[in-house]
Symmetry: C2
Subunit: 246 residues, 2 copies
DNA sequence: GTCAGCATACTGGTCTGACCAAGATCAGAC
DNA sequence: GTCTGATCTTGGTCAGACCAGTATGCTGAC
């Protein structure tokens, strides 16, 4: 990595950032710790306060520290929001990335569901069941339905008890909700989707209950594939109730 | 999202950040564009220059813009380094996260290999083949061997032609190299690993050549599982040449 | 002795204005 | 028309200042 040893060579910002990074990585600065004040840091490193603020702000957007007004700067546990921001920006500038992100989402979820089969506990099962029920109840509503769909999938990832997977998954949350919602809007055009949505999710749920990773993965994968298929058909205007297309 | 409409309410930093974020997300600021100068931005938004710098610095660490000394600030294509930084920091503070990250790595790679089966071209095949050969050549070297191993796996992800997967994968590169290297050190203790390493990678390669996603995924997954198994046995000192354990 | 209340030191949040070094630009010399 | 150099502009940084609240501790009342 480009972890330059920061004795003196760097410019102001780099110096402060490297200084803090070292402590952070070495563990001498742990979550919960309060940093010394901006002024002290400035004099300590021989830079001006604005520079210190730049470094602190940088760490803030990275979710490493939190600047509390009139309190001080404290080290926080790494947060998701960074990835969220990143994906948000990245996506805005490359719309074609959306399909890519969906692939990543599939990757995360399929791995999560395998872990979920091993690690899920009663609470996870209950959460999944509730989400499943909600999907059935909101099948005709685009907004609520999309949310229920999203909740179910999130419940899968949560059940994996893997923080990293959860973080990655939720970092794509913004995009996923869009996707889920638009999928629900397709329900109007594709009545057959209702069965697909309900049955698929139920089958996925059952596979987790059965603690069968292979089946769960395969079912989930198929679920995504069918969703893609519907979306493709929607694009070409091939609706199953032979209505007019755009 | 917390995309507050930034007319005036926010504090200085938020105001500038929100202002730029809007342009970035709306697409009026595209990669390659040069922002107006810090001074102009400051007067335009009614804040001081240090504040503007904070916002620009924040965007910099997010990999959205690049501040070029004495040139100006330009919008860049979203970069991996953010995720790299994030994972680096996150991992430093939660060592237990490493296993989690490995799970994410498996997720990414298994998805990537499926895509690779569909999308890989001749160049990808050749890259894989070269990496495979390298693995055979460097089987007795810890460093070079670890690198060759890593290259092969990266080649898989590259062959998926999915930028997001590639980004995610390489963001975990730092950790993966460690993992690959320590695995190679195990080779000393487990002579049987040589066969495992070479044969497994070859089987993976063949599955991609055959363009069989299911087989490729399954083989890769098994590959990881066996690696885990070796690592577990190493921890408990169960070496296959009945040598002394630590 | 205890506790409320206020003064003060300290913190982040921000601004102003200034200086430096070097790329960018354009006028003027050739 | 081209080349060169002064000037403008840009980022990089600093110093010092003010504000608004927090935290602390001292003081005085009880």
């Amino acid at each position: 990595m480009e972890l330059k040893r920061g004795t003196d060579g760097e410019k102001g910002f780099e110096k402060v950032f490297a200084f803090l990074r070292e402590r952070l990585l070495a563990g001498s600065l742990k979550p919960g710790d309060r940093l010394i004040s901006e002024r002290e840091l400035a004099t300590l490193l021989g830079v001006s306060r604005p520079i210190v603020r730049e470094a602190l702000r940088a760490l803030t957007v990275l979710g490493i520290v939190e600047i509390r007004d009139r309190i001080g700067t404290v080290v926080t546990r790494p947060d998701v929001s960074v990835l969220n921001d990143f994906f948000t920006f990245a996506l805005a500038q490359q719309a074609d990335m959306l399909d890519d992100v969906m692939q990543a989402r599939v990757a995360i979820e399929c791995q999560a569901i395998r872990l979920a089969c091993e690690r899920a506990n009663i609470a996870d099962f209950e959460r999944l069941q509730r989400a499943l029920a909600k999907i059935g109840e909101t099948i005709d509503e685009a907004d609520a339905g999309g949310l229920a769909d999203f909740d179910f999938h999130r419940a899968i990832v949560v059940a994996s008890h893997s923080e990293t997977l959860t973080v990655l998954h939720s970092s794509m949350a913004g995009l996923l909700t869009h996707s889920h919602r638009s999928r629900r809007e397709l329900v109007q055009a594709f009545p057959s989707m209702k069965t697909y949505l309900i049955d698929d999710h139920r089958r996925i749920f059952e596979a987790i209950i059965a603690r069968d990773p292979e089946r769960a993965d395969a079912t989930l994968r198929k679920h995504f594939a069918i969703g893609d298929e519907y979306r493709r058909r929607a694009v070409v205007g091939d609706v199953d109730k032979t209505s007019a297309s755009g």
